[in-house]
């Protein structure tokens, strides 16, 4: 580096000559423009804007100029360096953009390979989901969910529900009895004992649904399970009529199976209801319009479950005064409802535990 210039000699500082400066700028700009990669640009920057570059060296000479020349030279060199610096910045941005684009292109993958699953797919059991769907509809109307044990006292399963010990209806339940025979315990044949438990525990008025497992000594086949799920409903209040029963069933049917799918009541017999009815569902396939329909056999209706007005003996057994309160009850199979809703046709699939049965539905039915 030159020392302070005490003897002014413009010839010695030719680096500050406007033409030289301009020429250095021109050389620098063309080198920058020629840089085709960030590495080349880095080299160009070192050569033309680095500490050892002509313009940097020229800048240092400014200090040695007499004060009168400093300003002009400083302005000239400053502008020159500014132009070079700007050019570098712009080229840098261009090259970075190019590089980024190239990398993104290089990183592209075949996204369709992601369909091969890394982990086994899980799922909820469709029967559980169907039960949940039915329960939620009832809860949405203000009903509550009640539950009870599956190994249950005969009193709750039969006596409280007006199944006389000598009545044929009690024999028709295909009951699993427990040892010892006089122990008074059975596997519940329906979820109806929860009716009795709820009336005793909560009193009335009462609006409950009781979902859960029920047990019958049916051999396993496409339409029978020895262990199946039932949804039982019970409403006990002042002024309850069969019309309320019909209204509630219609609502449930329409919500589960679609607009226009209502129910029909037909006389039937159950020990725990009087009057009693069988409930049929409007055929969701033909809607009663195809005499050759295979789903309903051309009748337009499909059997769905049993219902009726709670028998006075049931109310009495549970400590409810039938002269003050009346109630309705209904019960239907969840597996059957699932078959209606999804077209599942073989009940055995529901207890085999094959992972594919769940996988078709995920967490909803």
């Amino acid at each position: 580096m030159s020392g302070p210039n005490t003897n002014y000699d413009p010839v010695e500082v030719s680096a500050l000559d406007p033409e030289v400066v301009e020429s250095n700028v021109t050389v620098a700009l063309s080198a920058i423009a020629a840089a085709n990669s960030l590495e080349e640009l880095k080299d160009a920057r070192l050569a033309h804007a680095g500490d050892k570059s002509p313009l940097a060296l020229a800048n240092r000479e400014i200090g040695a100029l007499p004060p009168t020349a400093k300003a002009e030279a400083g302005k000239r060199v400053g502008q020159a360096r500014g132009r070079v610096g700007q050019a570098i910045k712009e080229r840098q941005a261009e090259l970075e953009a190019e590089r980024d684009e190239r990398i993104l292109t290089e990183e592209a993958v075949d996204v369709t390979t992601a369909t091969t699953l890394r982990r086994p797919v899980g799922g909820r059991h469709p029967v559980e989901m169907m039960q949940q769907l039915m329960v939620d509809l009832m809860v949405g109307m203000g009903w509550e969910v009640a539950e009870g044990p599956e190994v249950e006292a005969e009193w709750f399963v039969f006596d409280a529900l007006n199944f006389d010990e000598d009545h044929p209806a009690r024999q028709m339940q295909d009951t699993f009895y427990l040892d010892p025979a006089d122990g008074g315990l059975v596997m519940r044949t329906h979820t109806s004992p929860v009716q009795a438990r709820s009336m005793l525990e909560r009193g009335v008025p009462l609006y409950i649904v009781a979902p859960g497992k029920a047990y019958r000594t049916d051999e396993l086949d496409a339409t029978h399970l020895p262990v199946f799920h039932q949804l039982e409903g019970l409403a006990v209040d002042k002024g309850i009529t069969m019309a309320h029963l019909k209204g509630t069933l219609d609502h449930l049917a329409t919500q589960l199976f679609g607009e226009g799918i209502t129910t029909r009541l037909r006389p039937n017999y159950f020990p725990f209801t009087e009057p009693s009815a069988e409930m049929d569902l409007r055929c969701f396939v033909c809607r009663g319009e195809d005499p050759a329909c295979r789903t309903c056999g051309g009748t337009g209706w499909i059997e769905w479950g049993g219902c009726g007005m709670v028998h006075e003996n049931v109310l009495r057994a549970c400590g409810v005064d039938p002269s003050e309160y009346s109630g309705f009850a209904f019960g239907m199979g969840v597996e059957r409802a699932l078959m209606f809703r999804t077209g599942a046709s073989d009940m055995r699939e529901m207890i085999e535990g094959d992972v594919r049965f769940d996988a078709q539905f995920g967490l909803e039915v």
Binding site: V151, G183, Y269
Partner: protein
Amino acid sequence: MRVPIEWLREYVDVPAGATGLQVAADLVKIGLEEEAIHGGGITGPLVVGRVLTKEPEEQKNGKVINWCSVDVGDANGTGEPQGIVCGAHNFDAGDTVVVVLPGAVLPGGFAISARKTYGHLSAGMICAADELGLPDDGSHGIILLPQRLGVEASDLTPGQDALPLLGLDRETVEVNVTPDRGYCFSIRGVAREYGHSTGARFTDPVLDLNSRAPEANASGYPVRVDDDAPLRGNVGCDRYVARIVRGVDPAAPVPAWLSQAVTEAGMRSISLPVDITNYVMLGLGQPLHAFDLATLGEEIVVRRARAGEKITTLDDVERTLFAEDLLITDGGERPLAIAGVMGGAESEVSDTTSDILIEAAHFDPVSIARSARRHRLSSEASKRFERGVDPAIAAAAAQLAVDLLVEYGGGRVDDGVTDLDTVVPAAPIAFDPQQPTRLVGVSYTDDEVEATLTAVGCVVERVEGARWNVTAPSWRPDLTTGPDLVEEVARLRGYDQIPSILARPVAGRGLTASQRYRRTVANALAAQGLSEIISLPFVSDELHTKLRYGADDTRRSTVRLSNPLSDEAPLLRTSVLSTMLESLKRNIARGFKDVGLFELGLVVAGPAGTAPTERVGVHPTPEVLAAIRDAVPVQPRHVAWVMTGDGERKGWWGEGRSSDWSDAVATALGIGRVLGVQLEVAQADVAPFHPGRCAQIMLPDGSVIGHAGELHPKVLTTLGLPPRVVAGELDLDALSAFAERPGVAEPIATYPQAHSDVALVVDSGVTAAVVEDALHRGGGENLESLALFDIYEGEQVGEGKKSLAYRLFFRSPERTLTTEEVNVARDAAVREVDKAVGASLRGA
């Protein structure tokens, strides 16, 4: 109950041309559900044909077919012989056969049309019995009509309609009779209901028979009812009619109408006396018994059996009687029949019987039901008696049987008539005429209510402004209360009149916490890649042994089914996992090797007591109720899971990873976490787990709620499962009860986190849980979390030692921690471990 429409017509005006389908639809409306329709599956033309020519033609495939021309009269519209190809050979030219012509439809919707076959235009079919849905008559092929019908060929005319000849125009509707409608186990009862449904006129056949039945007299056969132990206060037999017919021809043929009626109603035609008793039972609903009078010695005594007494019943089974059985005896000694259930072989009417005693009795439904159940003997008679037989028709039924035996058997009826009648008439029901409106939700007028009940057969005594006195008819023992009558009103007026009104419950509480938690847990497990299953909850002692439960393991004590579906699984499960392994095996057998399953369900977890029972309609005392509840074993809800194979699979992305014991434990912890509960883990050794790879899972209060880990290798080989299956099970009720409180929000600290690593050398037997516990104690409140990132056992730490390397994360809620502070806290944590289990820093 099978109801032949032609028989139904005898008691009620069924419109001409009514099809089985229409009759069934009318009966369904009134509560008699259709089970099946028999017969009537054919629409014609089905005609008599006479074979004119039959030319066998051998085909290329070696089969011989017959090219026939058949005279079908004018039935084909031309009068020309019909050309038909027939593959059967059991007929010849000149034979009279059954021909189905184009346009007909055979059973199964099989439509007949003329078609080109074997080089001929075949216009119809010569029919075999099975093609018409008829039983074979021994011809094993084409029906030869004269032989089948037992007539001369000359009695049959070609072109004649063959449907009525073969009885194919008759239909039988089979209906399901509910247990309250015993009277519908008769054509009489169904006819009455058909009348209710359609308004058709019903004629009660009993009215005429009763008017002809003679009064009881002193010369009747001596009968005595001697019931010294009535059941529930009811004498076993409150009516006993006996009539005697002598000189019946044992060889008398059964008239065709009678055998047809009995057969169409679903019973076998056997002999004249047997068919007559069955006919009367099917027609009127009164079971009869026919005794061979020659085998009776003294008076008939109806009494209870003595324990150990024996009788050989009609089905040739020797049965030991129970003290409660009601018997028909000879002179009070020799048992002749189990009353109302089945007769004895000794007094049975045989092919030499000529003098017959007809019994038409009324027995107590409870007594018959219990006998039938005890002897596992459900007969046509017991089925009717236990549902209630009309006690007012005994004499009429006996009269009908007598009439038929005289007319078709050539018998003479005795003048003596026995009729012991102690039937107590039904008490009137005090009936509120507003009750139908109140319960059904349809406004019925008093007149409508009265008219409907009268139509049912009730005697209605109206009392203005008060309850009416309604007396049920003798055939409706099921009508005893107001609601019973309400159902009759609603049923006959039509259930389709009931409007649809949504019930408006009081506001509910929504799902309970435990109900919500169950969904949360199940959804989390499903999202983790496990599939929910529902397995059959039946197990066996053998399975418990295979699962290596010890002899005194409490999971061996559970309830036992007395009538299991399979003797191989008579117990209720005490573990959900125990019934899931079968499903796991099934999945593997179906080709899935990476499988994760879970299930939520109840298990038995406590002793069963003896639950009292109570009569129906009785509210038990608090003591009895408590005893009932206490007898029911505790049944908590468990969640269990099982995994095999890769939890993360091998693939184009690289190596996979099999699920191991730690995944099973992590699943348990995850279940706690989704419910906001920090579950704890300790070493355990519990079946069916690997003794060294079993974790017990604890609530923060230290109570054990389940186990997780790898299954014992022996369990896996015994059950035929692959190695290294991992599993776990938790008591979800216990977890839910603990979780049941709103979560508490802690402020989130925003100062920087600092971390420091320590490698602690401890004895090999020291568990990570113990070390972590000590680290947390010693690390102070700023120790935010820690992670075990390396485990080393080997030379560098020496025999019987291991090194556990942890990264400790520190953060203060108040300020940025200095390195100094972090080091101090770290050293304190390490000292605490040393104090607890003896530890040195590795490399120190």
